[in-house]
């Protein structure tokens, strides 16, 4: 991607063109949430101006038109990640998708669902495996599932270099393992985990694999069918879409056997006062009025990404990632969390400035118009493992310029001197 192309792309993002504290904004927080191009906002507005109506249950012209675009959005997103339409369930965010599966499993464990749901029953003796690298959203729901069912939570350790300990993983995954939950790309150390290897290990012991694709779906060409994971989640707001929409992917045969999670309108066939019967997936998991305009906007975001080309975005972000990593590694007193130069990564780097708290680092950068994330990035266990409580993270996207990264590096280099930290 040429500099010109990046600049052209930036024109589609009004929010990027503003001054912050007198400096042009350098938005390096796309790992937390990305920005929306005009076309996404327009897709949503067009929906409200032309065809807003309740989907799937209206019989009038508007309702039909709304249902059509809503389901077309599902098809678009399904195609984007190598899934079939009935394997895509809308959620509010990735977090809700993790909870959906965890609660569906606990419902199965309580004997809800039909006979086929029994395959998801968990009880004492069963094991759920996560990694020390997980975002809280792909950790706490599994802790809670373990608490609800009596299953044991185990975890694959992170090595001092910030990668997963695959040797330990091979030991930890065993015939008692029912599910492995793992992130595709880390939101802290920026590396891409060897999902193929982990899927092979897990499937060899008949465990299901739940993939947190929050940091991969936006940044690389994701093919869930090829990865052969059983479930996956990602969030719209991290991939040029609006807030309030996320996606759960589940293999069709699994979703078909799972008991519902949220219940209510639009997910039933027949209801009487005592009991209800439920629709097939994905509707079974979509209770109440759906995030219609958000799904449509997410499809528009996916169109924008596809049009730009996920391969090219991936390559561009690899460049930005290297630039970041090389840059921070050259600053005295700044420690990069996780693997260093040369390791494949997304466009993201988290650092610790010795002697200066991340919040102060963030403030100093913000004063120069540079927006980064500071704190534990919802990954307290990983930070602890790496020996810090908080870090400063810069993260890029297709609209990030080399200049922005360079500015970040320049101002970061001034932090320790300003705070009077001896080198």
């Amino acid at each position: 991607m040429s500099t010109d192309e990046v600049l052209r792309i930036r024109n589609d993002f009004p929010v990027l063109h503003q001054l912050v504290n007198g400096h042009p904004l350098a938005y390096l927080d796309s790992g937390a949430t990305s920005q929306n191009p005009i076309s996404v906002m327009e897709a949503e507005q067009e929906y409200y101006e032309q065809r807003n109506a309740a989907v799937h249950r209206g019989a009038h012209t508007l309702a039909f038109a709304a249902t059509e675009v809503f389901e077309a959005a599902r098809a678009t997103v399904a195609a984007f990640v190598g899934a079939r339409e009935n394997e895509i369930v809308w959620t509010s965010n990735a977090t809700e998708g993790v909870n959906l599966v965890a609660y569906s499993f606990s419902n199965a464990s309580l004997g809800l669902g039909d006979a086929a749901s029994a395959r998801f029953r968990l009880s004492a003796g069963d094991e759920i495996v996560v990694t020390e690298m997980e975002h809280h959203s792909n950790l706490i729901p599994w802790q809670q599932l373990a608490l609800r069912t009596g299953a044991t939570l185990r975890f694959i350790p992170v090595l001092p270099d910030g990668t997963l300990d695959l040797t330990a993983a091979a030991d930890i995954l065993n015939p008692r393992t029912r599910l492995l939950a793992v992130t595709h790309a880390s939101n802290v150390v920026g590396t891409i985990n060897p999902i193929d290897d982990l899927v092979a290990l897990a499937h060899a012991v008949d465990a299901l694999v739940f993939l947190d694709a929050c940091q991969s779906a936006p940044h690389l060409a994701l093919d869930l069918a090829a990865l052969d994971v059983d479930f996956a989640v990602f969030s719209g707001h991290k991939m040029l879409g609006p807030t309030g929409i996320g996606v759960l992917y589940g293999k069709a045969d699994l979703l078909a056997d799972m008991p519902p999670f949220l219940t209510g309108g639009s997910m039933i066939t027949t209801v009487d006062m005592e009991k209800a019967e439920f629709l097939a997936p994905p509707q079974r998991f979509e209770a109440g009025t759906q995030r219609i305009s958000q799904a449509i906007a997410l499809a528009s975001a996916v169109d924008y990404l596809s049009h730009t080309g996920m391969g090219r975005i991936r390559a561009r972000e690899a460049e930005l990632g290297s630039r970041l990593v090389e840059g921070v590694s050259a600053i005295p007193g700044v420690r990069l969390l996780g693997p260093g130069v040369g390791v494949e990564r997304i466009g993201l780097a988290a650092v610790d400035v010795a002697g200066v708290h991340a919040h102060d680092v963030g403030q100093f950068l913000d004063e120069a118009g540079i927006a980064v994330r500071v704190g534990h990035h919802c990954a307290q266990p990983l930070h602890k493992k790496l020996g810090v409580t908080a870090s400063t993270r810069a993260s890029t996207y297709l609209y990030t310029t080399d200049d922005e990264v360079d500015q970040f590096l320049a101002v970061l280099a001034e932090v320790a001197p300003f705070f009077g930290v001896a080198r």
Binding site: D360, Q363, F364, A390, F418, F419
Partner: protein
């Protein structure tokens, strides 16, 4: 790049306090085993409060020990531990210097003044005579996101006092 705005926010006094952190201890174990947060030891009424800034995870625990009762009660003991940004750590250090040995009434008055200054969005010129080093936090009031950091130890102090009412 080290703009004057940054120098206003991070006054040298703040950076110094953050580094030396008066009154900080490495750990403050719970006052009692059953999660009670008050106790009386040798006639000193102790209370402790733990506060977290949920935006950034900064934590401060403040322990106070009062002798006497009512508004005349004296802040006889003060200790804190915590981890956080320079503003919250400096603020705890200044709090230590400010309230140790004062009466509850005086320390509460100071707390009110400090809070008022921080919430003023830069409109209140602090009275250094009264506030002492705490006046150095005037610059923080222009950064609403950081007001929480500066207030964190004071809120913990306030919460601890409240338990001894």
């Amino acid at each position: 790049m080290t703009s004057s705005a940054m120098q206003q926010l991070y006054q040298q006094i703040i950076l110094d306090h953050a580094k030396s952190a008066h009154g900080a201890v490495a750990e403050l174990p719970a006052i009692s085993a059953d999660a009670a947060t008050t106790a009386t030891v040798d006639g000193v009424r102790l209370a402790q409060s733990h506060q977290v800034n949920t935006t950034c995870g900064d934590e401060v625990t403040v322990r106070v020990g009062l002798t006497g009762t009512g508004a005349d009660a004296q802040v006889d003991e003060f200790a804190w531990c915590g981890a956080g940004c320079s503003i919250s750590m400096a603020s705890a250090s200044v709090l230590n210097d400010t309230v140790r040995g004062t009466s509850v009434a005086e320390s509460e008055a100071m707390l009110d003044l400090f809070r008022e200054m921080l919430r003023s969005r830069g409109t209140i010129e602090p009275d250094e005579e009264v506030l002492g080093d705490a006046a150095a936090f005037a610059g923080v009031s222009k950064y609403p996101a950081r007001v929480k950091c500066a207030m964190l130890p004071w809120v913990a102090f306030e919460a601890a006092l409240l338990q001894l009412r």
